[in-house]
């Protein structure tokens, strides 16, 4: 039988097993750090992605809606809250003539009923393919053909049946394509050309949607998207539009994005400050725990030194124990955090009420690695002071200390 040498690793494993309660306590603390870091990382990156995606998706400089419906349109874009409001289509022609306006395109909104079981009301957005500059660039990424009458383009959160069809107001429609996820409320919308929307409108009327009784879909629109001529100021054109016609609410898309960005910055700052504070508190706690534990283990360390272990080896032993604890805690915390945060991402996004676009696999993996690396780094950092002391101390002094 051959005697295997006792390695630092084996000794460290034996030591952390010997004090299961202390080890479990430390593992849970480090796991909490990893949990907070991963969850915080995913939240902040998802919110930033959502905002970027919304900026790209809007495509217009100004949004013109009936007075009092600025929140309605924001609800559609940001939170996916269905809304409908109408004004006369002549507004589109009037806006075309306003100084500083380069191009305009109108949209028509309609909302579905909770018609079939297990669905929420859906936002329909009708657009004019001839003039549209906001939706078609995104549709062209997934669908290169022209959208025919009766065809729908759906947001990423809408699910068609197995035959690629969707039923609204008792009639079936073909789903031509599904858009990429944007993390905004637009993921919950259904897009179609104006002819299909007029047809949907008629079907809705037949099904008894009384709120639209007075509306003529041929001569009404819900919003007009405006693009500015180069060299014109946003405020100046907004003023020109307001002067040209009454009853119009002009929304600067830039201001809408800035408003959300402000909310987002506040939230992300809170996340970062909380994570940083938590990290510092845990680090201080680890330094204290490792230092107190080393004091309790003076005899053990002195015996190891008497058996021939150098001060350096003892320091390595303490650091290995800390690394083991932080490695297990960090991995457990990251895994639990990933399972919870990724599983409930839709709910988290809905509750925040802000554009929320989760990063892809590479992004998630990167954040997980970062959380793991930081929690692992807590080990050497937390035990460095104790390891340094052990490295310097003499055997005799260690043995006699406290006697």
């Amino acid at each position: 039988m051959s005697n295997k040498p006792l390695t630092i690793w084996q000794l460290a494993v034996a030591n952390i097993k010997r004090k299961p309660l202390r080890t479990a306590g430390l593992i849970i603390i480090v796991a909490l750090v990893a949990f907070v870091l991963f969850a915080g990382g995913i939240l902040s990156v998802s919110l930033k992605n959502g905002l970027e995606s919304m900026k790209e998706r809007l495509g217009a400089d100004l949004l013109v809606v009936p007075v009092g419906y600025d929140e309605g349109v924001e609800g559609i874009i940001v939170k996916g809250e269905p809304a409908y409001f109408y004004f006369d289509k002549s507004v589109e022609t009037e806006l075309e003539k306003v100084e500083g306006v380069k191009s305009v395109s109108s949209q028509f909104y309609l909302t579905s009923l909770n018609q079939d079981c297990c669905s929420v009301p859906v936002q329909f957005i009708g657009f004019d393919p001839e003039t549209d500059f906001s939706i078609q660039p995104w549709i062209s990424e997934v669908y290169s053909k022209d959208i025919k009458d009766g065809e729908l383009i759906i947001g990423s959160d809408i699910t068609a049946d197995e035959n690629n069809r969707l039923k609204f107001f008792g009639e079936e429609y073909t789903v031509a394509a599904k858009l990429e996820e944007t993390g905004t409320g637009l993921d919950q919308a259904v897009y179609a050309n104006m002819n299909t929307l007029v047809h949907l409108f008629g079907a809705a009327k037949e099904k008894g949607l009384t709120f639209i009784d007075t509306i003529d879909p041929e001569s009404s629109v819900s919003s007009v998207l405006v693009r500015l001529e180069d060299g014109y100021d946003l405020d100046e054109v907004t003023h020109n539009i307001r002067a040209s016609s009454d009853g119009l609410q002009v929304i600067k898309t830039k201001s809408m994005v800035t408003g959300i960005a402000d909310d987002l910055d506040g939230l992300v700052s809170v996340i970062y400050v909380f994570a940083a504070l938590f990290l510092v508190v845990v680090l201080i706690m680890l330094v204290i725990v490792f230092s107190v534990t080393a004091n309790e283990r003076k005899k053990e360390f002195a015996t190891l030194r008497a058996l021939g272990a150098s001060g350096k080896k003892l320091a390595r032993l303490v650091i290995t124990e800390a690394l083991l604890i932080c490695g297990i805690g960090g991995s457990a915390g990251t895994i639990v955090s990933a399972v919870i945060v990724l599983s409930f991402s839709t709910y988290i996004g809905d509750r925040l009420g802000l554009p929320y676009l989760q990063p892809g696999i590479a992004g998630v993996f990167g954040i997980a690695l970062l959380a793991l690396a930081v929690s692992l780094g807590l080990g050497p950092l937390g035990s460095a002071y104790t390891a340094g002391r052990l490295n310097r101390r003499e055997v005799y002094l260690t043995m006699r200390e406290g006697e």
């Binding site: 079981c117 297990c118 669905s119 929420v120 399972v339 599983s343 409930f344």
Partner: protein
């Protein structure tokens, strides 16, 4: 404390959460109106599965024989699989990703089901180790 007591207690907690959760903490959509939604049946079925898991947890805590403990753990793992299959495959939840049953109940049941499977797998390994130690 004996391992089977700890495992038994964990299964009872998980079982009760699976049974009551879809009606309370991570409730399915409200089916009070005229329509009864699909997810309503998920909650009803999970109630039965959850109770079965909780009872098996109690049985596991009482059992002393390793072979019987392993058998109970296998039964628990199968119940864990069914817990996941009910909202994902067998019955399913509401279509819309933003409906409460789809955004909250389904992931919660998936996590709890996976937890039951993992715990049962760890239990099988530990009870087998105990069994082989007794036989040596």
């Amino acid at each position: 404390m004996r391992k089977n007591y700890i495992f038994g207690a964990l299964f009872v907690i998980a079982g009760l959460l699976i049974a009551i959760g879809p009606k309370t903490i991570f409730a399915v959509c409200n089916s009070d109106g005229e329509m009864t939604m699909k997810c309503f049946y998920v909650a009803q079925t999970e109630l039965a599965i959850g109770i079965a898991i909780a009872i098996l947890g109690v049985v596991l805590a009482i059992l002393k024989d390793s072979a019987a403990q392993i058998t109970a753990s296998i039964a628990l793992a199968l119940n864990g699989i069914i817990t996941i299959l009910i909202p994902d495959v067998l019955i399913g939840v509401c279509k819309s990703a933003h409906m409460h049953c789809n955004a909250v109940t389904r992931p919660a049941l998936n996590i709890l089901g996976a937890l039951v499977i993992v715990l049962a797998a760890i239990g099988i390994v530990l009870f087998r180790e105990k069994d082989s130690k007794v036989n040596e």
